[in-house]
Amino acid sequence: MNWILLPLQYSFMQRGLAAAVMVGVLCAIMGTYVVLRGMAFLGDAMAHAILPGIAIAYLLQGNLLAGAGIAAVVIALSIGFVSKGGAIKEDTAIGILFAAALALGVALISSIQTYAVDLTHILFGNVLGVSASDLWLTAGLGLLILAVVALLFKQFLVLSFDPILAATLRLRTELLRNLMLILLALTVVVSLQTVGVGLSAAMLVTPAATAYLLTRRLFPMMVVSAVIGAFSSVVGLYLSYYLNIVSGSAIVLTATGFFLLAFLFSPRKGLLWRTRQA
């Protein structure tokens, strides 16, 4: 058991582990909506589009998470605005927006002296650099997101499954859609600490997709997804400690491992099951 406790003697490891678990759970829960509504590309775009916000906060020596948060909300609302029906298709608009924002972010960061190190941390996360105040901010945002998801569970369910019913029931569909985008953006912001801009989408999609293969109702899917997200974060962090590899990569690769297991062996939806039935 010593190998489990050994890393925890360092307070940065304790904070990192707490952050990783919170991020794992949050991403996994918002990820169920991302998977079910086919928003994976959007989640990825959002993560990249947040980069300029972080860069500006860095240049102004403000709080990086706060900068990312502001950028995320702006991005979420502009994606909501663009997808309301414009001259070009939604995914094209998102593609343009996210590439431009990434370029702007890298341009801003490249003006900083310690460019290479900072960029690596932002792109791939630095879970061991999480400060106590980051941790509190993550916990606060996390509780807020979970509370909104819990309160609006039935509205988000109808909106995701059948937007037409949502509209005929006179739910405020536009408001709900924008709210969901904002929750997603905040989740992405929180996830930047552990897995960074580059791998944030994986934390949204992979645990939720794994849970999709293992469950048949939305709430159990969220629970299973959260468990997989948290467990992947813990396992990944230990792998990163003992193998001396980047934590974000280790976490995402662990989650991918779980996905492959479910993809092959899930009852009913797994590859083996389906080939045996066929």
Partner: protein, 271 residues
């Protein structure tokens, strides 16, 4: 085109509506009034605007002109009295919900903002499932259903909404005989509850035998009234044009080959 006499405000009063999709008007200046408990078939060729009409009636598409009244009050005043059964392709049937979950969604209009469905809602949902003959499927994943069963789940959900106005888009297209029978039985049940029903269909025979009123449209109103009056050769020719085939014995039917693809437009709400 004589309006049926109604003693109270018509359940549905459509006053000169024009509905556009992506800037192009699909329906122009359509007016009609449906009395309480009537059963109306909405008939027209593909692309006539049948789905568009329904989507306008539930507020999914904005009106360019005109007004819609339900119980004499503007659309949207009664929050939960219109149920719309869309075509089955409108939702993702691999979504992780059970049959009962879907039918319970029909109850959400009766619930407060953060209130979860309670026992009464569950009972209403089970009753609706029973009505459609699929109570045994309540705990099945919707991904396991056949097309006809999917249709019946949608009908049960609409029933659980306890609507006054029940709109169904092509419920007889591509379903098995059991589902067709269940749907027709549902119509009789709805009549006994004085629920007004509007159904779009391609089946002229069904429209003329099982419905009180027929609304014949082709991007505009062509005729509205009792089936016998509406299905005159002249009206049908106006609605269907060259798609109409006259047989030697005097019967007519509609050639459904190669319909245009522009009928089933999806409004932005579908995203």
């Amino acid at each position: 085109m004589n309006k049926p006499v109604a003693t109270e405000p018509a359940r549905l009063d459509v006053d000169g509506i024009t509905v556009a999709y992506n800037g192009t008007p699909v329906l122009r200046e359509v007016s009609f009034a449906v009395p309480h408990g009537a059963r109306v078939a909405v008939v027209g060729p593909n692309g006539a605007g049948k789905s568009t009409l329904f989507k306008a009636l539930v507020g999914l598409l904005p009106l360019r002109a005109g007004r819609i009244f339900i119980h004499g009050l503007p659309l949207g005043h009664h929050l939960d009295c219109v149920a719309y059964v869309p075509q089955r392709e409108e939702v993702d049937w691999r979504f992780p919900v059970t049959v009962l979950d879907v039918v319970l969604m029909g109850r959400f209009g009766h619930l407060k903002f953060v209130q979860p469905p309670g026992r009464a809602d569950r009972e209403a949902a089970v009753l609706a499932l029973d009505q459609m003959g699929i109570a045994s499927l309540a705990n099945e994943s919707i991904s396991a259903l056949s097309g006809g069963q999917q249709q019946r789940v949608f009908l049960a959900r609409a029933l659980a909404q306890e609507p006054h106005l029940f709109l169904m888009d092509e419920p007889f297209t591509g379903v098995d005989a059991t589902t067709q029978e269940a749907t027709l039985a549902l119509l009789d049940h709805l009549r006994s509850r004085k629920v007004t029903v509007m159904i779009s269909t391609h089946d002229l025979n069904l429209a003329s035998t099982r419905f009180d009123l027929v609304l014949l449209i082709n991007r505009r109103l062509i005729a509205f009234g009792e089936p016998k009056a509406v299905f005159s050769a002249d009206n049908l020719a106006q609605a269907f044009g060259p798609q109409l085939i006259h047989l030697a014995d005097g019967t007519v039917f509609v050639d459904e080959c190669c319909p245009p693809e522009d009928e089933h437009i999806h409004p932005g709400a579908a995203q």
